[in-house]
């Protein structure tokens, strides 16, 4: 079974082809980051306008580079939510009508299920069940994953997501938008001892997170600096990163101990963070747990994860109806195990 996957939930247009026997055949991505950077955030209408310009050229490119003929396609997957409604509708419209024209089934994929399963594109791929740490621009969740569509949320952020905290902190340090990766890069030159920020909510029971207070602490510290030189900026960045990473690691430890799961799988854009990866690997070692990461480009939004998740659901017999739609708000725990369509 071979599936074309389309991702347009936010500010990246991603397209990929996944084959159930051969694995990922190819993928390409167009990022609108520069377009939105000047506005300090994603402008939804501009995002939608860019998606409709880029989507078909990317589809053509992926089909060409993977030498996939229309006859070889067994299904089309597109992100149906959550995300920006106008952006989602572009991918859904193109994906659903491609499928109708090729006379193959279509499937609307949950964007976060795509993220959750992205590590499946790597070798070795994790087996079910596993603990997932989903850390993206909009979400921070610890999820017990029992199988496709069986997701139990163990804990989540009560305010800012980890990626959001990175971006907001980067902005107030004058690193532009979205500055998460820039901040992480700067932090590598920082002195870890100069500043220390509290680890939010680690003394509280449970597996929830809170990152909005941290950003305020950083701001207070940064504003109090007589000299806001490059080294100070790097030192603050380092202390912030350490606080976030530590918090995530502490909660992962707690979740692994509580659930007795033996596999830890990372998902989402913050999963590209090197220090987080180092610390989680160390944790996994000490707990004799195996840890799995998607390659950094599959941590952030991409078409490959949508092609993969869509392929799994199509293979299980699930089908989208001919009328398409976008679901801008869609909780992960509302997902179901694949249901075979009656038609």
């Amino acid at each position: 079974m071979r599936v074309l996957g389309i991702e347009t939930s936010c500010d990246e247009t991603g397209v990929a082809v996944y084959d159930l026997e051969q694995g990922l055949l190819g993928h390409c991505l167009y990022s609108q980051v520069e377009l939105h950077a000047q506005y300090g955030g994603v402008v939804p209408e501009l995002a939608s306008r860019d998606h409709i310009r880029k989507i078909l050229p990317l589809v053509r490119e992926v089909l060409t580079t993977t030498a996939t003929t229309p006859q070889q396609l067994d299904g089309i997957a597109y992100t149906a939510g959550p995300g920006l409604v106008g952006a989602l509708l572009v991918g859904a419209a193109v994906g659903r009508s491609l499928a109708w024209s090729y006379d193959v089934p279509a499937i609307g994929v949950h964007h976060l299920e795509g993220h959750l399963l992205a590590a499946m594109l790597e070798d070795p791929a994790p087996k079910f069940p596993f603990l997932s740490l989903l850390v993206s621009g909009g979400h921070t969740q610890l999820i017990k994953v029992l199988g496709l569509g069986q997701y139990q949320i163990l804990g989540e952020s009560v305010d800012d997501a980890a990626g959001e905290a990175f971006d907001k902190t980067a902005k107030l340090l004058g690193l532009g938008y979205p500055g998460g990766a820039v901040l992480a890069n700067l932090a590598t030159h920082g002195d870890p001892k100069r500043f220390t920020f509290p680890r939010p909510m680690v003394n509280r029971q449970g597996l929830d997170f809170s990152f909005s207070g941290l950003k305020t602490q950083v701001m207070t510290t940064w504003k109090a600096q007589a000299s806001q030189d490059e080294q100070t900026r790097a030192d603050v960045a380092r202390a912030f990163e350490d606080a976030v990473v530590d918090t995530l690691v502490i909660k992962c430890r707690r979740a692994l101990q509580q659930t007795h799961l033996t596999r830890l799988v990372i998902a989402g854009g913050v999963g590209a963070n090197q220090r987080l990866r180092q610390q989680l690997s160390a944790l996994a070692n000490s707990l004799k747990v195996k840890v799995f990461y998607p390659r950094p480009e599959f941590c952030t939004d991409n078409g490959a994860m949508i092609a993969y998740a869509g392929c799994c659901r199509l293979a299980a017999g699930e089908r989208a109806s001919l009328g398409f739609n976008a679901t801008p708000r869609w909780a992960l725990h509302n997902l179901q195990i694949p249901r075979t369509a009656t038609k």
Binding site: Y39, V43, E45, L46, S48, R49, I52, R53, I55, L56, P57, V59, R60, P70, V85, G86, L89, V90, G91, A92, A93, V94, G95, R96, S97, L98, W100, S101, Y102, L322, G323, F324, N325, A326
Partner: protein
């Protein structure tokens, strides 16, 4: 010639099919269910005509102006079908569709098409009958406050579209009293069926484009607040 047309620019959601001498059409009114409705409508119509997408010569897309999201639904669906069928797209203006329908249904030869653009503006296009029973644009289509529309032709004119419902008095005042203007009593919306004759002519003139080059015409391009 076999052309599939679709339009979701306004509260109307429609598709039409030219299959040599025969024509088919579907049209419904909906506020926000275009995405759910359009493909099932097309599917049912194509089945009635016993036609597969691969047998089409081109796809006709209502390219706007109109609701931004609506334009992208029509564009995305047109692009998907045209790409898969390996045929080009013929973009047709929603204002032109209004004008063509006024000629087809009421014999009007000078039409002032206006679609409510919200935010105190209208999408505006003036059309007169040209060759081959096809309505032709005078000047340009624009988005502007209803107070600032202008007439380019002097013959008696007929106003159509949701812009007239929203701004009847303001528009009439802006256009002055030199020309007799009558306005439709019941608001009409762009229909895919009215795009077919315009598209057939455009196709013969070689105006169809590769699917990825067929994009919405928004007219309103200031979308970022304060920019």
């Amino acid at each position: 010639m076999k052309l599939l047309a679709l339009d979701t620019a306004t509260e109307a959601c429609s598709c039409a099919l030219l299959c040599d001498e025969t024509q088919f059409e579907r049209s419904v009114m909906t506020t926000r269910h275009h995405a759910e409705l359009i493909l099932p409508m097309i599917d049912e119509m194509m089945q009635q005509a016993n036609l597969r997408p691969q047998q089409l010569d081109a796809v006709v897309m209502g390219c706007g102006p109109g609701s931004f999201t609506g334009l992208r639904i029509a564009c995305g669906v047109a692009q998907g079908i045209a790409f898969a069928a390996e045929v080009p797209i013929i973009p047709i203006s929603s204002l032109a569709a209004l004008a063509q329908a006024a000629y087809r249904d009421k014999g009007m030869t000078h039409v002032l098409a206006a679609i409510d653009a919200r935010m105190g503006e209208v999408y505006w296009g003036e059309y007169i009958l040209g060759e081959n029973k096809l309505m032709q644009l005078c000047g340009e289509e624009i988005v502007c406050p209803p107070e600032s529309v202008k007439l380019l032709e002097n013959s008696a004119a007929y106003g159509v579209g949701s812009g007239w419902m929203a701004y009847n008095t303001v528009l009439l005042k802006a256009l002055g009293t030199v020309t007799a203007i009558s306005v439709e009593t019941e608001t009409t919306y762009p229909q895919a069926s009215a795009m077919l004759p315009l598209a057939a002519a455009a196709f013969e003139q070689g105006l169809a484009v590769s699917p990825e080059l067929a994009l919405p015409i928004y007219l309103r391009n200031k979308v970022v607040h304060g920019s």
